[in-house]
């Protein structure tokens, strides 16, 4: 069952065969450039998104192409920026709000949770809030506890928000363009470690639909479901596992809400073993929900082994490199857990 919130996506241009190699960060910029060229209502607002080019350089030199009116530098006021996004979105604009680190959404939470997410429902459907919030999450940069969290579960837990976690450059572009089209507030949680990674990205005005999972690898022995930076770690682990004779399917939900449960359950049934991998802390994380969905479904009867979760430790992310690395699942953890699952069961 796909949760029935998927908005009808406007027909995208016929899929162009062409791709180019670009970084995840360039792919996001490409998406914003395309959206802004097409629709004058789209604009970007955030701290240092202008001449500075964004804390992670994602907006880059867009200000030189598009100008300060639509690449709008703000004061350091996350709550104000978010509220301004809500007000603009309610009145005909399609803001893309950039928050420098997803941790800072805590500063803006009233406008995200109590306003943006609820307005459409609470006001009886009279208004919608077509706003995109882009915020990088995740650890691995030595930025410690207030700049490294994976908070996606917060947002999934708030009805009215859609939540997207692109794991590849092409999805970073395609999902963002779908998010901009969407008439609802969409939280796009990017990953800092992915910004400089490269991949083949479809050119032009493409879409990755919201609510459709990707299955970048298929194998018969187990299903690894991973989000964000853990997708590339799962794929790397799958290569190592394959050398050892274990064939893994890797599923990247891409959109956490609405969630493509169909693909998850189909692949779980096919392998009978499931390993869930998230960077976020374990307790009540997104994979807890995935685990529950599998347990409550008919896929449960296909399981040959208990569902296994790999997650971040229930701690704030520490500073020291060794400690930070030990806090979240790494490739070798995935290999070990997968091997254990397949060998034991």
């Amino acid at each position: 069952m796909t949760i029935e919130t998927t908005a009808a996506q406007p027909a995208a241009a016929p899929a162009p065969a062409e791709t180019v190699t670009m970084t995840y960060s360039e792919a996001i910029r490409d998406a914003m450039r395309i959206a802004m060229a097409k629709d004058p209502a789209v604009f970007i607002m955030g701290e240092d998104v202008g001449t500075y080019g964004g804390a992670f350089g994602v907006t880059g030199e867009l200000i030189n192409e598009i100008g300060p009116e639509r690449i709008r530098d703000t004061t350091i006021s996350e709550l104000g920026i978010m509220g301004a996004g809500v007000g603009a979105a309610m009145t005909g604009m399609r803001p893309i709000v950039e928050i420098q680190f997803s941790d800072f959404t805590a500063q803006a939470m009233d406008q995200i949770a109590n306003q943006a997410a609820k307005i459409h429902f609470m006001l009886g459907g009279a208004v919608s809030v077509p706003m995109v919030i882009r915020a990088p999450g995740g650890s691995g940069t030595g930025a410690a506890a207030q700049h490294s969290q994976s908070l996606e579960a917060w947002f999934v837990h708030i009805p009215g928000l859609k939540v997207v976690m692109p794991a590849t450059a092409d999805d970073a572009k395609g999902l963002l363009l779908s998010a901009i089209d969407d008439p609802n507030p969409v939280m796009v949680i990017e990953h800092k470690l992915l910004y400089k990674t490269s991949g083949e990205v479809r050119t032009g005005d493409i879409r990755t639909p919201l609510g459709v999972a990707a299955v970048p690898r298929e194998g018969k022995d187990l299903t690894i479901i991973a989000t964000g930076v853990e997708v590339s770690r799962a794929l790397e682990a799958a290569e190592i596992l394959a050398a050892d004779g274990i064939e893994a399917t890797v599923v990247d939900p891409r959109t956490l809400k609405p969630l493509d449960s169909d693909t998850i359950l189909r692949t779980v049934k096919a392998t009978g073993r499931v390993l869930l991998v998230q960077e976020a802390v374990r307790t009540l994380g997104f994979m807890s929900e995935v685990s529950a969905i599998i347990s409550e479904s008919d896929a449960f009867g296909y399981l040959r082994a208990p569902i296994k979760r790999l997650a971040g430790l229930d701690i704030p992310i520490p500073y020291a490199p060794k400690l930070e690395r030990a806090s979240v699942p790494q490739v070798e953890d995935i290999v070990a857990a997968a091997t254990d699952l397949v060998r034991k069961w």
Binding site: E4, T5, A7, A8, F43, E69, R70, T74, T75, S77, E78, L79, G80, I81, M82, G83, A84, G85, V86, G87, A88, A89, M90, T91, G92, M93, P95, D110, Q111, N114, Q115, I119, H120, F121, M122, L123, G124, G125, A126, V127, S128, V129, P130, P159, G160, K162, P183, N184
Partner: protein
């Protein structure tokens, strides 16, 4: 020199009617609630009617407002339909929010009301955003953010005003200082002679007016709105007024005296306005009686029709969360 509202028959009658609508609507709400015919909670603005009345008189239909938990008056003054408001409070499908919002979330986008808000100062940055949108779209619309004195302790107030001032947006921050943020007296809370002193710190004009005087509120709002429309940026207005009723149904009035309440009841904005209109010749006693009677009839009919409407339905709740 602005129009003398009390001397202009049409404007005087319209303003008086707006104040009576707010008063009668809220009295009806209070009565229905007291008789157990309405559930939830409510925040009444009885005594404060002159503020939204004077302010909205200075606005065009397509100008925006953001409102507060004490928002019935703003909604009515901006032009909402009392029947749909009452239907909302009575949990009817025909209510403005189809029974999903209630008193604290009534919005009427047709008249530019972006919504009451259950979060203190929640509407401040939203008004900034609406003004930003108006500026970017080049529509010459203005946004007015009604808020209470309590909102001025919130971070959202600060951040919304900072952005509006930086971008010189067409927005008016209109504080209805009813002297208490729930039980906290604004005199105690803010170390200021008047709340408009704060405007200077934000680099925007600020003014304090008598919030029980329709003309004073209108004049200040008109000046601010004209400036905003002409590209002159935001303004802060403090309108001093008083809420006669408690903060909400839980209020036992332990933080203020009977004498104080009685003193402010003596400054009732409605008879004050009527006396001025009679003196200025804008309205005759017959006009005044007619306005009052018409509103009473209109309200009675709104309550009856709202009450007869179908209850809000739970059939499509799940599909109502996301826009399509």
């Amino acid at each position: 020199m602005n129009t003398q509202i009390v001397a202009d028959r049409e404007l005087a009658a319209a303003s008086l009617a707006t104040m009576w609508k707010i008063r009668r609507f809220e009295e009806a709400v209070e009565d229905l609630y007291g008789r157990g015919l309405m559930h939830g909670t409510m925040h009444l603005s009885i005594g404060q009617e002159a503020v939204p009345t004077g302010a909205c008189l200075a606005l065009n239909k397509d100008d925006y407002i953001t409102s507060t938990h004490r928002g019935h008056g703003h909604c009515i003054a901006k032009g909402a339909d009392m029947e749909r408001m009452m239907a909302e409070l009575l949990a009817k499908e025909t209510g403005y929010c189809r029974g999903r919002g209630g008193s604290m979330h009534i919005a009427d986008t047709e008249t530019g009301n972006l919504g009451a808000n259950g979060i203190v100062a929640g509407g401040i940055p939203i008004a900034t955003g609406a003004a930003l949108s108006a500026k970017m779209r080049g529509t010459k619309q203005v946004a007015v953010s009604f808020h209470g004195d309590g909102a001025m302790g919130e971070g959202a107030w600060h951040e919304g005003v900072v952005l509006a001032a930086m971008w010189q947006l067409p927005v008016v921050f209109l504080c209805e200082n009813n002297l208490y943020g729930m039980s906290m007296s604004s005199e105690k809370a803010f170390n200021l002679d008047q709340l408009s002193d704060r405007a200077k710190g934000y680099g925007i004009p600020g003014v304090t007016v008598d919030g029980n005087d329709v003309q004073a509120v209108y004049d200040a709002t008109k000046e601010a709105v004209d400036r905003a429309r002409a590209g002159g940026g935001p303004t802060f207005i403090e309108a001093k007024t008083y809420r006669w009723r408690g903060h909400s149904k839980s209020d036992k009035n332990l933080y203020r005296t009977r004498d104080e309440i009685d003193e402010w009841r003596g400054k009732d904005p409605i008879p004050h306005f009527e006396a001025l209109a009679l003196a200025a010749g804008g309205l005759t006693q017959a006009d005044i009686d007619a306005v009052r009677d018409n509103v009473r009839t209109e309200l009675r009919s709104a309550v009856q029709r709202a009450n007869a409407a179908p209850d809000a339905t739970a059939d499509d709740l799940l599909s109502a969360v996301y826009a399509r």
